[in-house]
């Protein structure tokens, strides 16, 4: 049984801001509810007010706007997987979304919700990070865009203030030669939370190479490695430098999903594997 709360499903952002401003006690925003209701069943969250955001029109949009992809806050993981737009130019996002939980949960769980829960191992972080995503945050007072690498501030903590809400994401459209890979280590063949999640992305034309890693630090780790990769030197040396950068920038722990040692090892293995998929050694 869930604790008692008042449920609202406003049709405008203004109404959401009013509720956020005037309600006392804890207020929770509801999109898919796949994290919120589990937390409430575990009694780790007991909101007095729940605001369902699924009636806000813009929030269900997914469209390209000026070389950016807008993903509304109510877009589910399965909508990302099925989106032609995503599969054409942002394929790594569909691949990442497929790693979130299982099919039925993905019919409810939203991409933005995955970020707002801000679990260190959230599957949507690495792919969105390497694509250089901005989080569109709105409130009664101001609208702001925060680069995704600045969004998470700690384990299940982020920059959102009590009166703010994420309207959606703006994902940079990279040039056509860009390609990305997301690899996730899990304990079973079926749905599982991430033990290590690594995304890599390359655009030769833009001379851009980035990696992002989940579940290896309190917050997801983003590394722009363009200078190393497109600078002087041979592939083997560059690969070693990249592996060193990854190792130096992660800080994993032992927990039920993996040991620290295994996380360090797998982040190296996956980085090397992704690099070899993105770039055939000897090409450069």
């Amino acid at each position: 049984m869930l604790n008692k709360f008042e449920y609202y499903k406003p049709e405008s952002l203004e109404k959401i801001f009013d509720i956020l401003e005037n309600k006392e006690g804890e207020t929770a925003l509801l999109a898919g509810g796949t994290d919120l209701f589990v937390d409430m069943k575990h009694k780790t969250r007991k909101p007095d007010t729940i605001i369902d955001i699924k009636n806000i029109e813009d929030f269900s949009e997914i469209e390209e706007r000026d070389q950016e992809l807008f993903i509304g806050a109510a877009i589910t993981c399965n909508e990302i997987i099925e989106s032609e737009l995503v599969n054409k130019d942002y394929k790594i996002l569909a691949d990442s979304a497929l790693e979130v939980a299982a099919h039925q949960v993905r019919n409810r769980a939203t991409v933005v919700g995955n970020l707002c829960t801000t679990s260190p191992g959230a599957d949507m972080f690495p792919g969105l990070l390497v694509l250089k995503t901005k989080v569109v945050i709105v409130s009664k007072e101001e609208n702001r865009q925060v680069p995704l690498e600045q969004f998470a501030t700690g384990v299940k903590q982020n920059v959102l203030k009590d009166n703010e809400i994420v309207k959606g994401l703006l994902v940079k459209k990279h040039v056509a030669d860009g390609k990305g890979v997301y690899l996730k280590k899990r304990r079973t063949k079926g749905p599982d939370l991430s033990g290590v999640g690594v995304a890599g992305y390359i655009s030769e034309e833009e001379e851009y190479l980035a990696f992002a890693l989940g579940a290896v630090a309190p917050t997801p780790v983003y590394l722009d490695l363009s200078e190393i990769f497109f600078g002087e030197g041979n592939f083997t040396d560059k690969q070693e430098k990249i592996l060193k950068e990854v190792k130096e920038n992660i800080n994993p722990i032992d927990d039920v999903r993996s040991t620290k040692k295994y996380r360090i090892k797998m982040s190296q293995v996956y980085t090397r594997r992704i690099l070899s998929r993105l770039w055939k050694a000897g090409d450069k």
Binding site: M1, L2, Y7, G33, K41, I50, A101, A102
Partner: protein, 158 residues
Amino acid sequence: MKTINFTVNGRNYKLDVKDNEILLDVLREKLHFTGAKEGCGEGECGACTVIMDGKAVTSCIILAVEADGSDIETIEGQSVGEEISDIQEAFIEENAIQCGFCTPGMVMSTKALLDRNPDPSDEDIDIALSGNICRCTGYYSIRNAVKRAAEKKGGSQS
């Protein structure tokens, strides 16, 4: 309390629910559709799977008020009297049922899959049923049942 209007298996319902009531509990306890089961209660086992507006969802982590205006399908809607659906028949023929606890969820996930993809590959089946856990039958017979159901519905000719 909120008043919600929705359809379950094609029939309209209007009822008062508390803000904090879960959809699964309302289906089972107020409307007596007890086919959907509560296993984990956290959206991980799939025993509570129903179809909501054409999509398979875990009804144990959805509020009843969120179902306002929606179209819900449960296992009860899959048979008319003693006449069962192609999917149910296929599950029996492939021995894809043992204790039966997971079966209503498996069948509803299968229906949602075949409604949108009449000729699924093994991978499509595995993805669509990834959220349905079975602890006794084994998954091969279930996958075969989905294929057989697709054949019965005229999808796969293989």
